[in-house]
Symmetry: none
Subunit: 213 residues, 4 copies
């Protein structure tokens, strides 16, 4: 219907660019090569895309968006949960069954677009997306900041670094990154995720029991 959004040429470019970016990474990938392999001229490419970075962003946009909204939906719901309830369950499960569901969903999305996710994770250097993960981490961190406040009340003597909320967000994302990087089948990944949930929760609780040296 619209103009610049639908076009065989555009699709062809994206398709070839995806392959190239995945194989070479952002910096090493060459627009020339992409054009040549797509059977398209440079001019055509520049009609549809502002520059190399724009093309890259377009290529990885879909899964990135899916991931981001999944995460945001989750946190929006989360926030509405009664605070009291949180406090009650906190000592047991920092990762709720709701969390677990979201993680599974995220894993699913990631495995549906595994190559692109890996591209974002390891091949985005030089592009404007080279630090996207940070956005996810930061979004995630807000949750843990709140929880940290509660925990501090439960364990007033714990000597815990102020970085811990960020670390926890970071390591949760990291677990996902690890999974998709090292485990090939989604099924196995899901199983591994059970270990991860246990691991992350165990780690979390232990931190609050750190004794002063």
């Amino acid at each position: 219907m619209k103009s610049t959004e639908n076009s065989e040429t555009r699709d062809k470019i994206i398709q070839v660019a995806k392959k190239e970016f995945i194989e070479q990474g952002y910096m090493k990938a060459s627009l020339r090569q992409i054009c040549k392999k797509a059977g398209v001229t440079t001019g055509a490419l520049y009609f549809f895309f502002k520059d190399k970075d724009d093309l890259f962003c377009t290529v990885v946009q879909a899964p990135l968006q899916a991931l981001y909204s999944t995460m945001m939906d989750h946190y929006t719901i989360e926030k509405e949960i009664d605070e009291k309830e949180i406090l009650e369950t906190l000592s047991k499960d920092i990762i709720s069954s709701e969390d677990k569901k979201t993680m599974d969903k995220i894993i699913h999305i990631m495995y549906e677009n595994r190559e692109l996710i890996l591209l974002i994770l390891t091949g985005a250097q030089g592009s404007s997306l080279e630090n996207v993960i940070d956005k996810f981490i930061n979004a995630s961190e807000n949750q843990y900041k709140l929880m940290c406040e509660k925990m501090k009340k439960l364990y007033p003597d714990a000597k815990v670094s102020p970085h811990i909320s960020h670390w926890f967000a970071h390591d949760q994302i990291n677990a996902l990154v690890y999974t998709i990087t090292h485990i090939d089948s989604e099924k196995e990944a899901m199983e591994f995720n059970n270990n991860m949930v246990a691991y992350l929760m165990g780690g979390w609780h232990s931190v609050w029991k750190t004794e002063v040296e």
Copy 2:
């Protein structure tokens, strides 16, 4: 005294290259720029260094070597520890006081060369060192493989992924990377490390108590 190792020109090149690599990363850094800023001709650079990669390796070699030998020394000592002792302490401390000392030492080395370490960690793409961390992780993993064997005897019903030893090694290194990336002062890093040790150990033990879903 020696020849190709000491030279004002060589030093100047290394010094400028270090700055450039840190600022731009391996790929974006330009030998031309380095030469120009060092007030040296290309020929001079190529007299001292085989190519761009060689220059990069030379720049980061010292801290890398320090890190590697620290780690190796540690594992060599570790291996000589009586196996029985390991089994006894296993249920309590997977990270021994010896481990803790090594981690502190590693953190110290890292902070002494923080910029270079960050360079290796985030700016080596394209060079022959783009995957060095993997070597550290693999070296570390061997330890955890052994421990996993023991744990499986203690918790025969635990449903644990075969990837777990690698993950654990990975996350330990990751904790170090996180530290140096996010925490500016070494002092604070050392404190944070206490949390990390608790975190890692808590995570480790929890994994073995994962119940079948």
Copy 3:
């Protein structure tokens, strides 16, 4: 009409490249110089030609092709000549009037493109065409192999090296090379060619009369 084949820039590059290659030979010729003298940027050159070798091949292609097809046409016709006839005339004329015509035609083509032919002959070292002459020689040799078989029947006692067919092909081409290298006018070359035909035939027959030492 067509695109990449016609272009003022392209023509200019080829024209200048031809001059440079002729003056310097393939290896010594510099693309930088060619671009500069053609008033063209490097990028432009590389838009039209894959690399230095591609440019070189383009420059010399026309006369090479003309030569090759002339030769091939000749041999195709030749093969259809009745074998008996060959045997009959063999003792007299190894170089038929048909051969002579072809040689004249070849000489004509060569003189039309004398500089380029000399370039191929003496300045192609380093390019993919550095051994093209061998292809001509080999194509030519096949003819003489057949004739050698016949001659052996006529002169069963002749002690002749198995290399002789190749040598004969080689020396025939060599005669052409000599001509174009040393004789400036085509007219004179044609006259000289009469001597060459006599020379080659005389040599050929004498070989078969070589007595055992």
Copy 4:
């Protein structure tokens, strides 16, 4: 005894340079490589040799000299032979038994230094020796010029190009070049040489019987 002529370093350089020049040809060979492989500094090389060309000449000088003096000795002797005798034998043997001996000797020298000879013949482009063969040809031509004079008296009606003496010298050398290029064993080369002598003589005589077209 003398200084710059005898030296282990110098010998080593020559030895390595010989290998490199043979493998790469004059232009592609790199002095850097030669120095590195010889375990010698550039300075050392430039102490013994003026430049790349000087080194090349030194490397190939011995066999070149041997060839040249053999040829010159031959021609000096030849000239002293009684002119009458020449005239008598001319109609039969343009290549005398003395010639044959010289050719054999030359072939022998060539095979003793085959690699270097091939280097001179095919790898000297760019050096000051790229046209040495011409010197041999020119030296040889003088002989044939004389003979041509005689032949013209014997065959006053022959229509022979003035280039013929040069061609004959050229082709004689060419026969030698062909031999060393295509035939591996000296023994076989000697046998082939019998065919060559017959060939060259047959060619020579036939030329004088060329009839006007």
